[in-house]
């Protein structure tokens, strides 16, 4: 199985779990769940597979910061183009401030992915409910976090038996030191590279 298909399969599995969870999964926002599952998976695949617990927590924090951004928009921002700009810019700024001390871009990106996912969910939720922040926002948080978590978990598990693009490229480079790196990276997605997982595991 190719790494892309494995990842796609994992994400679809996450959506299927949400579907099977029924009311707990939040069927109304099944469509936006794909965005969140993808964001969770992307968070797991950012850079090299490290600091996974920190990434998971920053996903959680990113969702909360995104919600805070909407709360601020409702309470403080003007209902203008400037306000809409701030609705996006402020969560990014807050996330940057919060992750600055970690000195890891990946944490920041996890936070931004999560707050962006929340924005997508809440914007949809906003149309469903009678525009009541105190009612809709908690629901939006839950409906963002669940697919985020499933996507993140799926991506982590997939990475345990399939190498990332970088790992595959590194393996290629190790096997053929003179090969062109670009070719190496391109070849990493070939089905023939499935077996490289075994190789990777063998290196552990």
């Amino acid at each position: 199985m190719g790494r892309i298909w494995a990842l796609a399969g994992g994400m679809i599995l996450g959506l299927l779990i949400i579907l099977l969870l029924g009311p707990l999964g939040g069927l109304e926002l099944q469509l936006t769940s794909a965005l969140c599952v993808g964001a969770g998976a992307a968070a797991a695949y950012l850079g090299s597979p490290s600091h996974m617990l920190a990434r998971g927590l920053w996903l959680l924090v990113g969702v909360l910061l995104g919600a805070l951004g909407f709360a601020l928009a409702a309470m403080i921002y003007p209902d203008t183009k400037i306000g809409l700009f701030l609705g996006g810019a402020v969560p990014i700024t807050l996330t940057a401030l919060a992750t600055m001390w970690t000195r890891r871009q990946v944490d920041f990106l996890c936070g931004v992915l999560a707050s962006g996912a929340l924005a997508g969910v809440y914007a949809t939720r906003f149309d469903f409910d009678p525009q009541s922040l105190n009612y809709s926002l908690p629901i939006a948080i839950g409906q963002t976090l669940l697919p985020l978590g499933l996507g993140f978990l799926a991506a982590v598990l997939i990475q345990t038996f399939l190498p990332t693009d970088d790992e595959a490229a590194a393996e290629k480079a190790a096997e053929a030191p003179t090969a062109d790196p670009a070719d190496t990276a391109q070849d990493a997605g070939d089905p023939a590279d499935v077996g490289s997982a075994t190789t990777t595991e063998a290196t552990q």
Binding site: P23, L24, G26, A44, G47, S48, P49, S50, H51, M52, L53, A54, R55, G56, L57, L60, M75, I76, Y77, P78, D79, T80, T102, R103, R104, V106, D107, D127, D129, P130, Q131, S132, N134, Y135, P138, I139, I141, G142, Q143, L145, L146, G149, F152, L153, V156, Q159, T160, D166, E167, A169, A170, A173, A174, P177, T178, P181, T184, E201, T203, Q204
Partner: protein
């Protein structure tokens, strides 16, 4: 509340007319009262309170009652200038929605400073938290049942069965109001009624298509294309349309896996500017329509809903137009018609009063008196007959003068009269009876003497005798002479002769001669009288007694009625015309209103609304029908009062006055400021127009909110588990991969590999600051 009274009772009558119109078929179709020009330079203010509530209508916040008041101002003026508009605003956390920062508040007003652009146009928007302790003029209550049992909406989620949802919007503005009116008697008076600020309630929701047998009552449903019924209701929670000032609507359906969708319910106060110039009123009417039309529902509502909103706005506009004065004001015609009706009614009362006036010799009372006298006299006579014994006499007479006897008497008439006619002769015969007896006794000797006296040539008896000597001798020798002599000398003949010669016999004979022709009919009549008369008397007496009593009561009633009618009629006009049909008056009124501009607008609005909202027409129609029934009942009461003279006509007048006062109260209440924070429109900045509304944003009852906490907890667990697994499973691999990458980097100078390896090295746990 204003005490404005200048309009008198024109306004209430207008409202009555407007509402009555719904009874009639629409004659003016929706030609459209759409504006073609903007209003003149004015500032427009719309202010609404958005109330966030749970599915059962209770506040959806525990610590804070989320009732957001939003204010929108559109200002026009000199280009590139700055205007300041003060709007009543007591909310907390008041801040602008167009700029950063708060908006200053002074003396209960929000002070909005608006920059006008180069076209002389500027806007301001704000939001604030409605004061927690302040009440709202409307209240929402939502109730649900499952298979007939009341149930909390959240408990209903997921259940199966027959579900009913009832939403009640209560108008809390009801207050006792003293309304000056012109009574139907023409007197200026004041009545106290209960009046509400008129509200138009519009509710919209999206009910799942899976609701089987969905019944939305007066609500109209369409498809939203996403598996939902898009349902809209219109309600009018104010007196006299609603006795308790509520508007109720809802739905029922057979539901599987139940949910209660969200809903938006707007309560829009109907505001009629008071005492403003016509232009301003017209502009305000437009403002009111704008406030209605521009209010939510969501942007994806169908054209039906837009049509409904426009229709409602037309109704409101028409109502306002109908209350305007001047020109071909249908209200004046209406006023005249109603006045004519009651004037003519009063005239009729006067006419009736004159008719029953006891002092009028040609009046009904006098005639009744005369009739009463005749009846009394008849009764006396009948009583006399009854008590005189004549009935017994008739019985006796009938027994004697039988038809047989009558025939006999008739037959005897001729001989008796002959006897009477010859009474003298009979008397002579009676007197000569002795002589005749002597002759009879000596008849033989006399006959011999006759024979001898006439014998020879020279008879001794006279020739007259001799010439008849044979006849004389024969008579003398006959037995008849003996019998005649015997009869004439019989005492009975002598007595009969005596009687016949009496004057009584003569009179009797004469009387018999006269009575003979009628004796037989008389006998028959006596026979009939003898049979029928006792029964007639027996029947006639109580009848006459009853008639006498009735006439006595009638006279009393007529005298009393005359007094009452005179009192009432004195207050009314002097025209002497027939009492008009109330139906005709109503028809005339309705036709006049329908023909007016405002009437056409209202009718068009109703028609437009009716295209979707039959409920409005139904409610208005019901009121109109009720009104008509009330008026008809009033007419019946009047008729009854005139007929019986017992009903208090004053009660009818009071009812009519009350009706006028109730509608007057309604229209007066419509002068109440529509803004949530109040504010006298007369105190508003010049050119400022006000509009307001209340909007309940009702949260749904479904699995979303209850599932949120467990969903979040599961999500956090997933993230942590994934993170821990990732750290444990992938961290060790990173070390190995980094090693491999390092080896590769050492054996080659390719930049791409260096990139990958560099990242990997950087991400090695412990490679960065502690996390």
């Amino acid at each position: 509340m204003s005490n404005h009274t200048r309009r008198g009772w024109k306004l209430p009558v207008a409202a009555v007319a407007v509402l009555s119109m719904a009874l009639l078929p629409t004659t003016a179709m929706a030609s459209g009262d759409y504006p073609l020009e903007p209003r003149e330079s004015e500032n427009s203010v719309a202010q609404s309170v958005q109330i966030r509530v749970n599915a059962d209508g209770t506040p959806n916040g525990d610590a804070v009652d989320f009732r957001w008041s939003v204010t929108q101002i559109t200002a026009q003026g000199e280009p590139d200038t700055e205007v300041t508009v003060a709007v009543p605003e007591n909310g907390a956390l008041l801040h602008s929605l167009q700029n950063f920062g708060t908006i200053p508040q002074e003396d209960g007003d929000g002070i909005f400073t608006i920059d006008l652009n180069s076209s002389g146009f500027g806007t301001a928007r704000s939001v604030s938290l409605f004061p927690q302790d302040d009440g709202l003029p409307v209240e929402l209550k939502a109730e649900f049942t499952l298979d007939g049992e009341p149930i909390n909406p959240q408990d209903l989620v997921g259940e199966d069965g027959l579900v009913t949802a009832t939403y009640t919007v209560t108008n809390l503005t009801r207050q006792e109001m003293a309304v000056p009116i012109t009574s139907v008697t023409g007197d200026e008076t004041e009545k106290t009624v209960m009046a509400d600020v008129p509200f138009v309630v519009q509710a919209e929701t999206f009910l799942p298509q899976t609701f089987a047998g969905l019944n939305t009552g007066s609500g109209l449903a369409g498809a939203d294309g996403r598996g939902n019924w898009q349902v809209v209701w219109i309600g009018l929670p104010f007196a006299p349309l609603s006795d308790d000032g509520t508007a109720q609507f809802g739905w029922s359906a057979n539901v599987t896996d139940a949910v209660i969708p969200s809903m938006v319910i707007q309560a829009l106060p109907v505001y009629i500017p008071e005492g403003a110039a016509d232009e301003e009123k017209e502009a305000a009417a437009e403002g009111g329509k704008d406030a209605i039309v521009n209010a939510v529902p969501p942007p994806d509502v169908s054209g039906d809903v837009a049509s409904i909103k426009a229709g409602v706005a037309d109704v409101i506009g028409g109502l306002e137009k109908l209350t305007e004065g001047g020109g071909e004001d249908p209200l004046k015609k209406l006023e005249g018609s109603v006045n004519d009706f009651f004037t003519e009614f009063g005239t009729n009362l006067q006419t009736t009063a004159a008719l029953v006036d006891p002092n009028n010799p040609e009046g009904a009372t006098a005639q009744v008196k005369e009739l009463q006298g005749v009846v009394d006299e008849a009764l006396v006579k009948v009583t006399e007959v009854d008590e005189s014994g004549v009935i017994d006499d008739i019985a006796k007479a009938a027994g004697i003068l039988t038809p047989e006897n009558a025939q006999l008497l008739t037959d005897l008439n001729e001989p008796i009269n002959n006897l009477a006619d010859n009474a003298e002769l009979i008397a002579d015969l009676a007197d000569a009876a002795t002589d005749i007896q002597f002759i009879a006794d000596n008849a033989a000797a006399i006959a011999t003497a006759v024979k001898l006296g006439c014998a020879g040539n020279n008879p001794s008896l006279p020739a007259e005798v001799c010439n008849n000597k044979d006849a004389i001798i024969a008579a003398l020798e006959s037995q008849e002479l003996q019998d005649i002599a015997k009869i004439l000398n019989d005492p009975r003949f002598q007595e009969a002769a005596r009687i016949i010669n009496t004057p009584e016999f003569a009179a009797a004979a004469e009387a018999l001669d006269k009575a003979a022709p009628i004796l037989i009919p008389l006998a028959d009549a006596l026979k009939v009288l003898n049979t029928q008369l006792p029964g007639i008397i027996t029947t006639l007496k109580p009848v006459l007694n009853g008639v006498a009593n009735v006439l006595g009561s009638l006279e009393t009633s007529l005298v009393q009625l005359s007094g009452e009618l005179t009192i009432i009629g004195q207050g009314l006009a002097e025209k002497n015309v027939d009492l008009p049909s109330l139906d005709a008056v109503l028809e005339e009124i309705t036709n006049q209103i329908l023909a007016s501009e405002g009437g056409q607008q209202v009718t068009a609005g109703l028609d437009q609304v009716g295209g979707g909202i039959e409920g409005v027409k139904t409610e208005l129609g019901a009121y109109g029908a009720e009104l008509a029934v009330a008026l008809q009942a009033a007419k019946i009461e009047v008729d009854a009062a005139v007929a019986n003279g017992t009903e208090a006509v004053g009660a009818v007048i009071d009812k009519a006055d009350t009706l006028k006062a109730e509608v007057a109260g309604l229209v007066t209440a419509a002068h109440t400021s529509p803004l949530p924070y109040g504010g006298d429109p007369g105190d508003a900045p010049e050119g400022t127009k006000l509009a307001g509304a209340y909007e309940f944003r009702v949260d749904p009852a479904n699995t979303e909110a209850p599932a949120t906490l467990p969903r979040i907890l599961i999500s956090i667990l997933l993230l942590v588990v994934a993170g821990v697994l990732g750290n444990r499973l992938l961290g060790r691999r990173q070390v190995a991969t980094a090693g491999a990458a390092g080896a590769a980097a050492g054996g080659a100078a390719a930049g791409g590999a260096a990139d990958a390896g560099g990242d990997a090295v950087e991400d090695i746990p412990g490679g960065g600051p502690p996390g």
